[in-house]
Amino acid sequence: MAGSRGAGRTAAPSVRPEKRRSEPELEPEPEPEPSLLRTSPLSHSTGSDSDISDGEESVFSGLEDSGSDSSEDDDEGDEEGKDGALSDEGHSGMEKTTEEQVQDGSPGLRTAVASARTGDEYAEDSSDEEDIRNTVGNVPLEWYADFPHVGYDLDGRRIYKPLRTRDELDQFLDKMDDPDYWRTVQDPMTGQDLRLTDEQVALVRRLQSGQFGDMGFNPYEPAVDFFSGDVMIHPVTNRPADKRSFIPSLVEKEKVSRMVHAIKMGWIQPRRPRDPTPSFYDLWAQEDPNAVLGRHKMHVPAPKLALPGHAESYNPPPEYLLSEEEHLAWEQQEPGERKQSFLPRKFPSLRAVPAYGRFIQERFERCLDLYLCPRQRKMRVNVDPEDLIPKLPRPRDLQPFPTCQALVYRGHSDLVRCLSVSPGGQWLVSGSDDGSLRFWEVATARCVRTVPVGGVVKSVAWNPSPAVCLVAAAVEDSVLVLNPALGDRLVADSTDQLLSAFVPPEEPPLQPARWLEASEEERQVGLRLRVCHGKPVTQVTWHGRGDYLAVVLATQGHTQVLIHQLSRRRSQSPFRRSHGQVQRVAFHPARPFLLVASQRSVRLYHLLRQELTKKLMPNCKWVSSLAVHPAGDNVICGSYDSKLVWFDLDLSTKPYRMLSLSLLSTWFPSPRHHKKALRAVAFHPRYPLFASGSDDGSVIVCHGMVYNDLLQNPLLVPVKVLKGHALTRDLGVLDVVFHPTQPWVFSSGADGTIRLFT
């Protein structure tokens, strides 16, 4: 053992020869005393005082654990311990030995060594002195972490740390080379490596496994009772018994008498044995037939469980069996989501039917439902859809109205944006995107004249006055006033005279528009005047008398609407402020009102007083068109979300009736399918009719009777859906106009045709 350790020792310096330069000289010295081996570097490093530790092999030398010595010590100690146990003071002896064991793990091993040396183990022993070599006392050694030393020895000299703290590599090499590496422990006080002896290792093992440190100690020695179990002749104590142990207790007597009294009085009654068999009686003996069902009227009795249908049968009709996909879908669903809690299956026989797996679960769920679920009476609404449909008079009774297509006016090569009929009803003018105005004879569908205007005609309007023959057309940023010279020659001539009678004033007033006379070439085509604006014109409309002309410009700001006076060639902008984009304007047929339709509202202005009279709210998203009833009390608005709104001006500013004229919307009620926009609306000047043209290519003619009696509300009945126009570029009907005298309606479409329905 010692030899092997020596080999280890010698191997160690060979690893690091340079560091221990000073050692080799001194190496021979410690050889006779192997225990000194490890202190040697310390002592040498301190310098001269190696003798002390060397020479005194008493206390200090014992500190260094030396395998050979300590084994002897232990043995001796054990022997002594046994002796002690055998002797009378066995108890204390045992203590000592245990003390030794405790100290064994620590450097305090030296006590044992010392005792072995001296023979009297207790003489030197003082458990207080833990480590005599290092006198720093009980301070954390981290405090010395930054110093080269770890403490001071008895003489006050520094105890230096080993010169080089070993790094990981050294440790690893040690681990590999040194077979005793596992039993090497570092002494924190000196920083030295300690090598445990076999005995020490065995001791550690014993302590680890919870045994006594002393091998010789027998924990199962027979116990000696203090009191023997035998009955002796003499008592343990010889005290005579008290008197009270012979006398009945008064307190108890009182208690008993109280109980007796209570029993007498019947206060305490013996517990009756409970009857295990339950007794039942006729609970409904006095039954009140008129008893309220339930406690109060709010009570909702629990609904009964649903009865099984065919699908639940063990032998169901084949239609109820699930296909494979349905089966998979069923299995993927959560049990709570399933429509049926069970899987319909067909069993060949009753014996083959297995137990239903969720049976108890279902009962439990029912129980939970009964006391945890809020209940509610659900009123099932039974509405007959027939009742929802309003009762309307038959359209046959509301005749006349246009019922079928009579004529088609072909000629335009592009979509026909606008239409207008002459006040006499003989001529028709249309403006198209192909840059021309066409004049048609209504009765024959003959194109009487074509006027190229060199731009898209946005709007066209025939002067309503029968005394003049004038047509206003909005082309790009100008309004053209034409004299088509159709019909009565006299009228045409007088119109020309009227226009030429204008004498320009001396100082031309500031005007928002320029009035230009037409050139000679243009006059031949029919053009008389040109009113130029800076902005594109979207709409032009005449006042009922035919002198005033309202124009809508596509601009921002307050100059969207201009009013021109033809006879004096004057223009004015009536508004100082704008209220959104103006869509349409219309003159009131009887009173000096101007209706201006902006995107969300329709405003009614009094032109003479120059004030806002009314503001109508059509409740639709985007007003597209506007028409005023010839009597002047009713207004209709068409909107791009396919609504037609009827206002009764006398009634309120809210719509009197809203008609949803989209044909598609009734078939596809979901909002995904966009509704077709209404492009134009028109009133018939004589008959109680109004029409609307929409993008789905249909013209819907409605009967709109307005009564003179103020108490009677107008009667609105859709009477006919007229179809004829083909859809091009998702556009259908662009304009609708009624014939002034006949119940006929003209419509212009995106397919470049104009159609007459009679």
Binding site: A285, Q286, M298, L305, A355, L392, L661
Partner: protein, 700 residues
């Protein structure tokens, strides 16, 4: 009072219509579990938050709320006190147990004193009328039947005594139901056997599960189920008591221990088996002998007679006596038909027999041993007095205030459905359910046991219920019996007539088993209309098919009848000519189905799209009519005309729709869509059936 205080008071009053669960617990010092218990007993359920006014709803946010009326109702409940007492009792018990230590005797004594509560007042409060209580028995019965099959496990809250109670109650109820012939419908499902009985004009439906191995799902709180069971057992006890009283039976009925040990369930309560027990050996001998003697006689008579051969003579005498008694006592029930009279007599005789047993057990024994009628007479005379006495007692005690009208007429047919039949139930069949149904319908049963009134080899047995082929037939008469599958019994009951056994023979492909509950209100309420129509269609369809099969079995004798029954004009001629081939017939039924569906739809929708339907009918007729070529042009024209008309109608509708208000239009569209969906679903279903038909054809 200051105005602000007044306002607050009013506010509080308004808010106080509802109350939080937490505050109830706080006010009544109840634990959560106790409160749940009370809710279960009293049938109190929480309220929906939507019912609360939106103003005050935030106060009840995320808490279960009850009405204040419920709270008041709970507040005065004597059960709460008992629950509290129980709580203190447990505390005491705990303390005492610590002190007593090992003295178990004392601990047990304490337990015996545990306060118990009664639920009768709650039952009376929840169900002021008997019929109402009977109407609410569905849940109770199903739960009790399920609970009786659980194994006892006190740890997870399944109480042993509750299970015993449930078992007993289940058997007593089954006994009552078949004894008074109350079963009306039965249905084998994947979940178990549904039985329906009509008691006091209330339909009571319950579910007997297939035998299952019990399992403990951790998500199931058996304590809650046990609490429910406590209430249900109490309710059923009281209801049964009253029902037994109405039918002049004594409650609880006595149970024969030997039969009980045989696990015969409800039959253990049956007095007839009770009495016959000792005679079984005798009886079988007698049967055999009588069977030998009367072989030449009508077997039917024998069947009817041999069951109580020994009692026949005595019964006659008893009947006479009873009629006398009856006139004397002038019982409150109005009994019009003879059947009812006899039934009453039967019941009374049963009662009497019991009394007999009580009074003169020794006599009875001797009586049973000797089959002398004279002895019986003597007994009867002795019993007569006691009977009179009892009757007097009944008449003297104030009878029920309300006479419960017992609807006998409907049941009469069912009661005698299996009157002449004796079924032998094999061991592997569900004995419980089958015996209830058969006995309820007036049949008789035999099974493999020494207590069975009929041996397997008894000649009187007419049917055997089994699903397995029995190989070697030793004797002729056994082979001659009808071996049927159990579905036969169910189908007979649901159809209310005796069906031909041919389709139900062992090893035969069974006809489909259809639910008898389609017409029930309860079913209609829960199922969407289209499904209801489909199932309705289906049932009529299959019934017709069955009829047809039957007719075929009868060598097509009643073709004419069929024609009459199936008159719907269109297919009448086809029916009579093409009945022979099955496939064609299927097609016809299919078409009929469709028509029926459309008719049904029409009824539901109440739409008068007559031409629409007509055109559809035309289109359906096309494949049917063989002379397509001739009527082709006409049909085309018809179609065109129809289309035009349709178009016109559509336009008209559209025109009208334009004037509808937004709200109405939305509603209308919703209804329209729902109808469309219904139609689609029915169409889908029809497609499915036709596909199956085609597949079958291809296979053949």
């Amino acid at each position: 009072m200051h105005i602000h205080k007044l306002k607050k008071k009013i506010q509080k009053k308004k808010e106080s219509k509802y109350i939080k669960k937490k505050s109830i617990l706080k006010k009544l010092c109840l634990t959560y579990d106790d409160f749940n218990k009370i809710c279960i007993y009293k049938g109190i359920y929480p309220r929906d938050h939507k019912q609360i006014e939106a103003k005050y709803r935030s106060k009840f946010n995320k808490d279960i709320c009850y009405t204040r009326k419920d709270f008041k109702n709970i507040k005065g409940e004597p059960i709460i006190n008992t629950l509290r007492e129980i709580k203190t009792y447990y505390k005491k018990y705990k303390k005492r147990k610590q002190r007593c230590g090992t003295n178990k005797e004392e601990c047990k004594n304490i337990i015996k004193g545990l306060p118990q509560f009664k639920l009768d007042h709650i039952i009376k409060e929840r169900h002021p009328n008997l019929s109402q209580a009977v109407g609410q028995l569905n849940d109770a019965l199903t739960a009790i039947v399920a609970y009786s099959l659980l194994p006892s496990d006190e740890k997870i809250g399944i109480k042993n005594d509750s299970i015993q109670k449930c078992m007993q109650l289940k058997n007593i109820f089954h006994y009552y139901v078949y004894k008074t012939n109350k079963i009306t419908k039965a249905f084998i499902t994947v979940k178990g056997y549904y039985l329906q009985a009509q008691i006091l004009q209330q339909n009571v439906t319950w579910l007997i599960p297939h035998i299952f191995t019990p399992y403990y799902d951790t998500s199931i709180n058996f304590k809650i189920i046990t609490t429910f069971i406590e209430y249900y057992t109490c309710l059923l006890n009281y209801v049964l008591f009253k029902l037994f009283k109405i039918d002049d039976l004594s409650y609880p009925p006595e149970q024969n221990i030997e039969l009980k040990n045989e696990k015969l369930g409800h039959i253990a309560y049956d007095q007839t088996y009770f009495v016959d027990l000792a005679k079984v050996a005798n009886n079988t001998k007698g049967c055999d002998s009588s069977g030998n003697n009367n072989e030449n006689n009508n077997t039917m008579l024998l069947n009817a007679a041999n069951f109580v051969v020994n009692d026949e003579a005595s019964d006659e005498t008893e009947q006479n006596l009873h009629i006398k008694v009856y006139t004397k006592a002038e019982a409150a029930e109005d009994i019009a038909t003879e059947n009812v009279v006899t039934q009453g007599i039967e019941e009374k005789s049963v009662k009497k027999k019991k009394k007999k047993k009580k009074n003169t057990t020794s006599n009875e024994k001797s009586n049973e041993k000797n089959n002398d009628t004279s002895n019986d007479k003597g007994n009867d005379t002795s019993n007569d007095k006691s009977n009179d006495k009892s009757n007097d007692k009944i008449s003297s005690t104030p009878t029920t205030v309300i006479k419960h009208y017992i609807n006998e007429d409907d049941n009469n047919k069912l009661k005698n459905l299996f009157k002449n039949f004796i079924f032998y139930i094999h061991n592997d069949m569900p004995f419980d359910v089958l015996s209830i149904i058969i006995l309820s319908c007036g049949g008789k049963i035999g099974w493999k046991s020494k207590y069975s009134p009929y041996n397997y080899k008894n000649k009187a047995i007419t049917h055997e219920i089994t699903e397995t082929e029995i190989r070697g037939c030793e004797e002729n008469f056994i082979c001659e019996r009808d071996r049927i599958q159990p579905q036969y019994v169910f189908d007979c009951l649901n159809r209310k007539e005796i069906l031909y056994c041919f389709n139900y023979k062992v090893n035969k492909q069974l006809p489909v088993h259809l639910s008898p509950f389609i017409d029930d209100e309860n079913y209609k309420d829960f199922v969407k209309t289209e499904e209801y129509t489909i199932s309705k269609m289906l049932s009529t369809n299959y019934e017709q098919r069955n009829d047809n099969n039957n007719n075929n079995n009868n060598n097509n004798t009643n073709k004419m009848e069929m024609g009459q029954t199936d008159e719907k004009g269109i297919i009448k001629t086809d029916m009579t000519t093409k009945v022979q081939s099955d496939d064609e017939f299927d097609d016809i039924t299919l078409v009929k189905c469709r028509n029926a569906a459309l008719e049904n739809q029409k009824q539901i929708e109440k739409e008068d799209e007559k031409d629409d339907v007509q055109s559809q009918k035309n289109s359906q007729n096309e494949p049917q009519t063989g002379d397509m070529t001739k009527t082709d042009n006409i049909n085309d024209q018809n179609l065109k005309l129809g289309n035009l008309k349709k178009q016109k109608k559509h336009n008209e509708l559209q025109r009208k729709k334009m004037l509808m208000s937004k709200k109405k239009r939305k509603l209308y569209n919703r209804i329209e869509n729902a109808e469309k969906r219904q139609k689609q679903k029915i169409q889908k279903w029809i497609n499915k059936t036709s596909k199956q038909k085609n597949n079958k054809k291809k296979k053949t």
